[in-house]
Point group: C3
Chain length 423, copies 3
């Protein structure tokens, strides 16, 4: 029934959005306040606020501009890539403020949720995990499905944070960086459940050109440039040593990974040419890996080595594993989040483990290793189980996913009333 297709999404998306916004605003009425005295209740000094604001803005740019434009690399999917990113991020942040406030309150003596820079940065990091998950299913799902996916993903991620922090007493700074692993595996499982035969071996619209390659370069650059802020945003300012180490470590790791990503992409190409999409993705892997490992990295060269290995694995993953995933496991990963977020994230976890073990006495070492392995296992299991469940829920025909031939195409969702469309 193609003629009924569009009008039904026409009601579904606004209804879902209005429903969610109404719930959000009602919850905000009863529970959320603006925090006028954030510095009094924390160890922050009075000057801290505005300095954090610049870092917060860097993260804000990464979420809306960085992720949004990175997703414009598909030649016919630019409006959806950037537009739905904005829609999903805006809703995820509101939901994450509430979920974080309920499960992981900043002030235990109070039932109220306080909006301050810390809560906004945490909410944006939760939104980032949803955007990573969305990267795996871009082009194959409609905006209603993307919104539902994001709501579940944020819920799951905050619950997993609650488990790690309260049951396993994990360091919040470390555990929140598992967002890369959680989001990527969640998204890959959703994509695996939603697999369409029609996009195999290669969907005709899943391609890039000079224009879309440069737009996604823009998004990638803003992610790459501001990643030191992303990793260090939640480190307290009074912990200067750690903050500086994280900033400079991320910076150096990313500098190495861009060089390695470009070299490996050329070396393993049959014609000796560089693949722009691989470079744009894999150059970021150094930031992911160092983010997970950061609390254990102290020397600049360690950070550089982590960036080296992450870019190596990630680029090889793009060259060889991505198509293998599609053919062997019927799992299509639009933005390659497995290679950009999951694998470098696990590499960072491994580096963290090794660095901690070498600097710890042997008696505590075993205890630490067991704890560390449990943290990863819980993250991996929760993300995969919830991703699979979400996939099954989104497969329901009620959500009216687009037809195969309308995949990777803006025209299913966006008006082009006066379009000069030659491409």
């Amino acid at each position: 029934m193609p003629p009924q297709y569009s009008p039904s999404l026409r009601l579904r998306l606004p209804l879902l959005a209005f429903l969610l916004e109404t719930i959000f605003i009602l919850l905000f009425v009863f529970f959320v306040k603006i925090d006028h005295h954030e510095q009094v209740h924390t160890k922050f000094d009075r000057k801290t606020f505005m300095r954090s604001y610049a870092e917060f803005q860097d993260v804000h740019v990464m979420i809306f501009m960085g992720f949004g434009f990175l997703a414009t690399f598909l030649v016919r999917y630019g409006f959806s890539g950037s537009g739905f990113n904005m829609l999903v991020a805006a809703m995820s942040i509101q939901w994450a403020i509430l979920m974080n406030g309920f499960l992981l309150p900043q002030r235990h003596y109070s039932r109220e949720i306080y909006v301050n820079l810390k809560s906004l940065i945490e909410a944006e990091l939760c939104a980032a995990s949803a955007l990573v998950a969305m990267g795996a299913v871009h082009g194959k799902t409609n905006p209603v499905q993307l919104q539902l996916l994001a709501m579940v993903e944020v819920t799951g991620f905050v619950v997993s944070q609650w488990i790690l922090r309260t049951l396993l007493h994990a360091d919040p700074l470390y555990s929140i960086m598992l967002l890369h692993i959680f989001g990527a595996l969640f998204g890959v499982m959703v994509s695996w459940v939603l697999h369409r035969e029609g996009i195999k071996p290669q969907h005709e619209k899943e391609k890039t050109d000079r224009r879309s390659g440069l737009f996604s370069m823009l998004g990638m650059l803003f992610l790459w440039m501001f990643w030191p802020s992303f990793n260090s945003a939640l480190v307290y300012h009074w912990d200067r040593g750690l903050k500086l180490t994280v900033i400079y470590g991320t910076y150096l790791s990313l500098a190495v990974s861009v060089v390695i990503a470009m070299s490996i992409s050329m070396l393993f190409s049959s014609k000796g040419k560089i693949n722009m999409v691989h470079v744009q993705s894999s150059a970021l892997s150094g930031g992911v890996a160092i983010g997970v490992a950061m609390t254990a990295v102290h020397a600049p060269w360690v950070a550089m080595m982590i960036g080296f290995c992450a870019a190596l694995l990630s680029t090889l993953g793009f060259r060889y594993m991505k198509s293998h995933m599609l053919f062997a496991f019927e799992c299509h990963d639009t933005c390659g989040v497995l290679n950009v977020h999951a694998i470098p994230g696990i590499l960072g976890w491994l580096a963290h483990l090794l660095l901690q073990l070498t600097s710890t006495e042997s008696t505590i070492a075993v205890q630490f290793a067991v704890h560390h392995i449990f943290v990863l296992l819980i993250t991996v299991c929760m993300s995969m189980v919830m991703g699979t469940a979400t996939g099954l829920f989104l497969k329901w025909s009620f959500w009216r996913s687009q037809q195969d031939r309308k995949c990777f195409d803006d025209q299913a969702f966006w008006e082009f009333p006066n379009l000069v469309e030659q491409k």
Copy 2:
């Protein structure tokens, strides 16, 4: 006389620019100094300077990058949209520094004008009002007309600020945010006077495509992301409570308005598809409305409700009022500034009034309401009268406006010497 057309603009633009620049530099020689001691004369503490610098840079990015690229949505008008934005903004800022210094001096005991971050931010906000006005006439006027329009608009806006602040003792923080209403009505009146029959019902070049839609998405994103800085830039740092409220309120209002703009755009489309230009414009309306209302907003949910209503009105305005304005009133509004700046601005004014009345004793309430209504009336009247006068002045054939068929087209003003032009 088409062959004489270009050469005459060839002289007019440089002559006007040289004349204005010479006047500016001469006035700077006699009146303007760099403020080396800004913190001594204000309540700013010594640390304030560099923290404000990051906020100032956010506003700077909005004026030059945000407004500039938002105006590239027309498929053949990208160079003019971004280039003339830069030209006009650069001249407006210099003029606004002088005008603000003469009429609204920071230090009353001194005749000199001091350049400091506050004066630059105020000048950029005045330039913003000129850029809003320019949005209504983009594509239908040449750069000489745009420069003249900007000079008059900045003059008018600073004079209206002087009236509001000295005669009506309005709060500067509140009155400067009326820039949206002043600029939009000014621009719409100019466009009404300059109306061309040739662009009705639809000029063949007034359209958007995938490429120009993404470029304008870039500009919109930088406006959207940095709007919290725009609204809070002039709030003093020692007034922490207000500064935080403005930042978080603007943030939440914008998050809601992007969701609502996208939903309404889909709901009221006959085919159930989203219009990118509407979303890009209306998602910003939450920032406009909360900017005008901000000094009276204290709870996050109020900010969210304001963003909700602003996006609702603004998107409906795009869907129904824009073409009505053209056909019924012969008023063409290229960027839809009426729906993005004027209507959300008046909504914010109304919200401000209601919020103040509910929190004020009844004896003062009437007095406040009368004052509040007068402030709006003066702004509306001044902008409409000056806009009409400017329109009549710019209609003079001496300024050699482009012909109808060269509207919305870069080729009237820009060299494309080696252009591969298929579109």
Copy 3:
């Protein structure tokens, strides 16, 4: 042997990159530490760090985003322009951290090199000088040549800094700004030695269009907006007066130069039309000139006059000198770095000299002038000699430069596997 061409670059680029990265990481292992106590050893107060971080990020955006996208103006060279910029900048920064640490250590009592914000900003400024040099040869050299060029250029620039600072006791703040002159002359000499007859009078692929013009507008805007941070980043915060003067001076100089660049471009065009590439380049000349002159500029109008003259000279240079250079001297300058960096730089040097002489007693004046002239002479000679030598080295056929017909074209280096390529 065209079929062997690509596979050989396929090995050369990765091998060079791996070799350099291995050397860098090994040197970092032995010599480089993260500076946890930067404020203790300097006059910085404890609050300084995060304020500098925002400025550092501005410079970071200029290097990677600004220079990268400014170089996308060629219609078929966007991937290379932005991608190789990133590659070369990432390697240059690592090398510059080491070179600066060895030759110009921050702490003389220690053999170790400390990574802190100051060392990163200095490294990025050295990378900027390499990127300026690269601008002259863009499109005519392969990435292996670009990397080698950057390594030699950074080495030469740091050595020239060492000579100026230790032998001539030049002010580091002033001498590092000679990066524009050094980089531009170095690049022009390389381009002169590597001259190809095949790109004369005009290579068919050396052209711009609506799309590439807007992408390079983006890069130009980020350079233009953040230039005040670029010029002031190394001024200490406790030297408030100078920092403020530099920021406001750069701001005003750039505001004037954009107006003048646009006017001159229109005035000296036969058809009275503006050339986008000229404007994008010449609008930046005000920032270059004021950067070199800044320590002697005290009044806003002086800064504006410098911006005026720089844009005048630079735009006229583009209109008349660029093609003259190609025909008379067989020197092709892709991005026009001679007109954007060298000539405005020398203008700034001249302004600095004149401003110093007028404010100095006549006895010291001669001494100062001689010193000032020597500083320029050393910079010019070193850059030209090293540029010529580098050009001869890069001419070696072992580096397998692309053929004439593959100049200014991404397809020599980048995969376009699924490209819809109509242009």
